[in-house]
Amino acid sequence: MAVTTERKDPGPAAAGVRRSGAPPAPGRAAPGTPGRGRLTGAAPYLLLLPALAVTAVLLGWPLVKNGMLSFQNLNMRQLIQHLTEWNGVDNYRETLTSEDFWGVTLRSVIFTGVNVVLIMVLGTLVGLLLARLGSKMRLLLSVGLVLAWAMPVIAATTVFQWLFATRYGVVNWVLDALGWHSMADYNWTGDQFSTFFVITVLIVWQSIPFVAINLYAATTTIPGELYEAAALDGAGTWKSFTSVTFPFLKPFLLATTFLEVIWVFKAFAQVFAINEGGPERLTETLPVYAFIEGMGNQHYGMGAAISLLTIVVLLALTSYYLRIVLRQEEDEL
């Protein structure tokens, strides 16, 4: 039986689509005495009970509550007086007919797309580079990657604000030194595009290590014979990449892309902490928009409706992958 013995930080990918190789075989019933058989019937359910119970209460209940809130007219006044005013689909009608909502949705999708493409392409290149390096250089680069990976989000956000600070920020100084003098005192959070630029650099910088290190770990499991066979067939570097490496890594890349889509689309702390969705609410992505409408402007019912629509958009973005996962699980179990 193939046992995975090397596991470099089993990221979420390990729990998503597993590499071919060792799907865990379903456990056989314990070779026990007949007397023990009766317990085994209920045992799995008892073992799962705590996990299911807390998930149902703490995740299921807020989901249901969110659904209920989204059909209510619930603002500051109703909240304080504990009034429940049902207003049917008004919140949805208002949201779906507002230009703001569609603008923010489009913005979120573009934002997610740009980030995920950058993360996957650069992460893959860095991962392949790791595979090519000698052991000393690989260690050096890994240390840099792990540092970026391990930086807590809010700490990283604060550091990026300092790097991109208008005065005394390193980025402006470097741009100025390189001859772009108009950037000497540039205010990065002054407009939509440059604010998004900072957020994107931050997110991509933090996410590449996960992709690169896991991809490198995956390449180490590619059997060398495959490359030898490709070389015998006269394949060059590019050909052996397209015929051996890429097909082997495809499930990994698919799983990681999907995780990154979810992760970037939901990113709240980075977007909110850099500039609170400003300037002029122009850098709000859907989660931040729902938060600011719901909590900031105290339209709780409206915020709940936007939240629910956000979940729908997220499901739409990831539906392709979800289908694959569900099919995959069927084969595996």
Partner: protein, 276 residues
């Protein structure tokens, strides 16, 4: 196949440039935290500080409630991780080793729960916690953080359990252990790397969580470090030395944990357990 020195130069040069790119923000955070203010607000950046000061750290630590918040963050994070590990151990064992009706459904449930968009459920959670009169308390935070990391913990531990050869348990059971004893004596010790890896993830998630605590705990006494750090800059304006010292203090535990557990989580899972 020997590569010429020139062919090796490119990857190595790229690696050095990338190392600088990834490490620089972290380097800049720490050096800024130690630099005298005159070096921070200088027209040209001081790349390699020569003088070090602790005044910024002093300022960060003296900020209101700092130690209370450290206590809060630790309490919430550690309790959430421990709770989720206990619950996940039971579930992952069932999912990896036992065969029963609905197993696939449970797996899929946890896979979907892993995608839960907590960031957009904050309004509903706020309402529930408010109705339960639990705002400004650490208990709801702990429970929600536990559930946030639970699906991942279950799925990851499951693959660790599945990777442990069944022969180990079986031989223990042949030697007269019950299934539970076999689990405690044989599997549990071999799960150490898996427990390390998953608790690392859980710790980081809970330590960093921002939107939920932002809404639930307005009382400064009941907040956690991420909030403190994000408001720090507002409070201290352009005092980048103090802000970077605060960021460093927040990041150090995670960086250390990462470096320490990374090594533990890697390596032979059952090496030496079964002599082939």
């Amino acid at each position: 196949m020997k590569r010429s020195p020139l062919a090796r130069l490119w990857p190595n040069a790229t690696a050095v440039v990338l190392f600088i790119g990834f490490a620089f923000p972290v380097y800049w955070m720490f050096t800024t935290a130690f630099k005298p203010t005159s070096d921070i607000v200088s027209e040209d950046p001081v790349w390699f500080p020569t003088a070090a000061t602790f005044e910024h750290f002093q300022k960060a630590v003296d900020a209101d409630n700092f130690w209370t918040l450290v206590g809060n963050s630790l309490t919430v994070t550690v309790s959430a991780v421990v709770l989720s590990l206990v619950i996940a151990l039971l579930a992952s064992f069932a999912l990896a080793r036992l065969r029963f009706k609905g197993r696939r459904g449970f797996l899929v449930t946890f896979m979907i729960a892993q995608m839960a968009p907590w960031e957009v459920l904050v309004i509903a959670i706020y309402m529930l916690v408010r109705d339960g009169d639990m705002l400004n308390s650490l208990l709801p935070l702990t429970l929600f953080y536990m559930v946030m990391v639970l699906p991942f913990t279950i799925l990851t531990l499951r693959s660790y359990v599945a990777a442990i050869p069944k022969e180990l348990e079986e031989s223990a059971m042949v030697d007269g252990c019950t299934r539970t004893q076999a689990f405690i004596r044989v599997i549990f010790p071999l799960l150490a790397p898996g427990l390390m890896a998953t608790s690392l993830f859980g710790f980081i998630t809970a330590w960093n969580e921002f939107p939920l605590v932002l809404i639930l705990n307005k009382d400064p006494e009941a907040q956690t470090l991420p909030l403190w750090l994000s408001s720090f800059q507002t409070a201290f304006g352009d005092d980048w030395g103090a802000t970077m010292a605060a960021a460093s203090l927040f990041a150090i535990p995670i960086l250390l944990l990462f470096l320490f557990l990374q090594r533990k989580a890697v390596g032979g899972l059952t090496s030496g357990a079964v002599k082939g």
